[in-house]
Symmetry: C2
Subunit: 321 residues, 2 copies
C-alpha cells in the first residue's frame, strides 16, 4: 500500500501580495501554525514582514518556483488591476498549483483565470473583511475572525481545491459561505460597493458648507463616511471591476433617495425611507447576533455537492469543514 | 455694598426630558458636582434615574415650580414634536428662568420659544453627540466629552444666559461652538440629517438581494448604516423639523450620486466621486485630530460680542470659558 497523498491541510499556502488582506492572511496562517510564505513587489513590505518573523520575498519567479515544488496553494491577493500580470507569471511558473484569490469581484477574476488556462485548479474566494487602512502596517491576524469568507461553489469546481481553500478560511477564523461566482458580484455591489459610493457622497455633502459644518460633524458623519477614507485606487479598482452590478444597485439607491426627497417635499415626511432603512438594518443586527447553523450532510465531491452547498448557504448556513 | 447675584455656575440645572441626551446630561452634571434635577414623563425612567442616585420626578408642575424658586437654568431635552407642550408649561410656571434646549434643530425651537414669549431668557443649544440607541438605559455621562456643543450666539442673546448655557456644556466636557441660529440648521442638515437618509437607503439597497447579501455584509455596511437603527420617531422628528434645509442638501446628494452613476456608465470610472469623498473625509479626520484653538479676547456682553464669537468659530476656534 502506497502512502496516501499528503493531506491538503499540510500543504503550504503561498500568498501573492502582502497588503491589508494578503498580509493579514500570512500573519493569521503563521499564527495558526500553517506552513506559509509570501511575495510582495515592495522591498519595504518584505523587509517588514521578514522582520516580524514571516517568510517573504520580492522575487516572484523564485516564489512561484518554490510554490510549484512544494505543491502550495496560491492565493492571489493583489489589487484587481494587477491580477492579469500575476496570472501571467503563475501560468508560466506554477500552473499545476491549486489557485484561489481574495479579490473583491469574482466574475472578472474567473474570466482572467480562464484566459490564462488556469480554471481547472481555481476556486475563487472573497473574505468580507477590511478596514479603511491599507498596506502591511494595517495588517491584523484577527482580521478574518468571525468574518464571512465567500468560497465560490460552482458546479465545475475541483472538490480538492475547494476544500483546501475553505480550510484556509477556517484556519484563520472565518465563516465559509459557498456562493456561485455569478451570484457573488451583485451581492457585493449591494452590500459593499454601493456603500462606498454613498459614503463618498455623504462626505462631500457634509463638507459642502465649509469647515464649520465639518467641525460639528459627529457620529452619523463619522460612521457614515468611514470607508470614504479608503485609498482611492483600491476603491476605484473594486468598484470599476464590478461596473454592471454597481450600476444596477446604484440606480436603486438614487431612486430611493429621490423618492425620499419627493415625499419630504410633497408630504413633509420621511417615514418611508426611515422605516425601510430601520427594518433593513435591524434585520442585519439580528442575523449578525445569531450564530449561523452549520451546513450538514454534504460530501464535497459527491454528485451535486456544489449546488447543495449553495442551497444551504441561502438558508443561512456556513461550511464548518 | 450688596451681595452680588449668585454666580450662575452655582445655579442648578433643571433637565426636562431624560432620554439619551437629557439623561446623559443629568448624569454628567451630577458627576461634575453641578446641582441638577430632572423631569421625565415616564415613571419607569424616573424610577431608574432615582435608583441611580439622581434627583428626578414625573410631576412637571412641581419640577418647574421648584426651578423657578431656585432660579434654575431650564434645559428642554424632549423630542421636537413635544417642545411646544413643554414650553406651554414653562411659560405658565417658570417664565423667569433662563432657558436652553438640546434639540437638533434651532430655528423651529427659537420660533416656538418666541410664540411663548420666552425669547428674552432663551439661548438655544445643540450637543453634537448621540448613538443609535435611545432612552435612559442608553445614557452615558461621557457622551459629551470632546463633542461639539453649539450654543447659539445671536446678536440679541442675553449674555448671562449665554454664559450659563456655555458653562453647562463645558462642565460635561463638550467643546462650545458659537453659531447663529439661522446658520445652524443647514449645517446640521449637511452633516447629520442627510447622513441619516443615506444610511437608510444604503441599508435598504444592501438588504434588497435578500438574506444572503446581508449575511455577507461587513464593515462598509455596518458603519454606513449604523444610524439607520436609530428609533424611527426620533429620526423623523429631527429630519422633518428641518425640512427646507434637508431638501437642499438631499438634492445635492442625489445629484452627486447621479453624476457618479453616469460617469461609471459612460466612462467606466468612479474617480470623481471617490476622490471628492476621500478628500472630504480626510479633511474631517485632520480637523478632528487637531486640538482646536480657544476663542480669545471676547468679553461676553461687550459690544459686538456675539458677532465676534461667531467670527472666531468660523476660524475653527472654540469657547473655553
Amino acid at each position: 500500500m502506497t502512502a496516501p497523498i499528503a493531506d491538503h491541510v499540510a500543504l503550504p499556502v503561498c500568498v501573492l501580495g502582502l497588503g491589508l488582506i494578503g498580509g493579514s492572511l500570512l500573519r493569521a496562517l503563521d499564527r495558526a501554525g500553517r506552513p506559509c510564505f509570501g511575495w510582495n513587489r515592495s522591498p519595504a513590505t518584505v523587509v517588514a514582514a521578514t522582520a516580524a518573523g514571516h517568510d517573504a520575498d520580492t522575487d516572484l519567479t523564485a516564489v512561484l518556483t518554490r510554490a510549484r515544488r512544494d505543491h502550495a496553494l496560491l492565493v492571489v491577493a493583489t489589487p484587481t488591476p494587477t491580477v492579469g500580470a500575476i496570472l501571467d507569471q503563475v501560468a508560466r511558473h506554477a500552473a499545476d498549483c491549486a489557485l484561489t484569490d481574495v479579490v473583491s469581484v469574482k466574475q472578472a477574476v474567473a474570466d482572467a483565470v480562464a484566459e490564462h488556462g488556469l480554471s481547472a485548479r481555481f476556486v475563487g474566494g472573497h473574505p468580507m473583511a477590511g478596514t479603511s487602512q491599507s498596506g502591511w502596517d494595517a495588517t491584523d491576524p484577527d482580521l478574518f475572525v468571525g468574518a464571512p469568507w465567500v468560497v465560490c461553489a460552482d458546479d465545475d469546481a475541483d472538490p480538492t481545491v475547494w476544500t483546501a481553500v475553505a480550510d484556509v478560511a477556517l484556519a484563520v477564523g472565518a465563516r465559509v459561505v459557498p456562493v456561485a461566482t455569478e451570484e457573488h458580484d451583485p451581492l457585493v455591489a449591494a452590500i459593499s460597493h454601493v456603500p462606498h459610493l454613498t459614503a463618498a457622497v455623504t462626505a462631500v455633502v457634509g463638507a459642502g458648507p465649509g469647515d464649520l459644518a465639518l467641525r460639528l460633524a459627529a457620529g452619523s458623519f463619522r460612521d457614515g463616511t468611514r470607508v470614504a477614507a479608503t485609498a482611492v485606487d483600491l476603491q476605484r479598482a473594486m468598484i470599476e471591476a464590478n461596473g454592471p452590478a454597481v450600476l444596477t444597485m446604484l440606480s436603486e439607491a438614487i431612486d430611493r433617495l429621490t423618492a425620499a426627497r419627493d415625499e419630504l417635499r410633497d408630504a413633509g415626511t420621511v417615514h418611508t425611507v426611515v422605516e425601510d432603512g430601520h427594518r433593513a438594518r435591524t434585520r442585519w443586527d439580528a442575523m449578525r447576533n445569531a450564530d449561523p447553523e452549520p451546513i450538514t450532510d454534504v460530501t464535497v465531491g459527491a454528485p451535486g455537492w456544489a449546488a447543495e452547498l449553495r442551497r444551504q448557504a441561502h438558508l443561512g448556513r456556513v461550511w464548518t469543514g
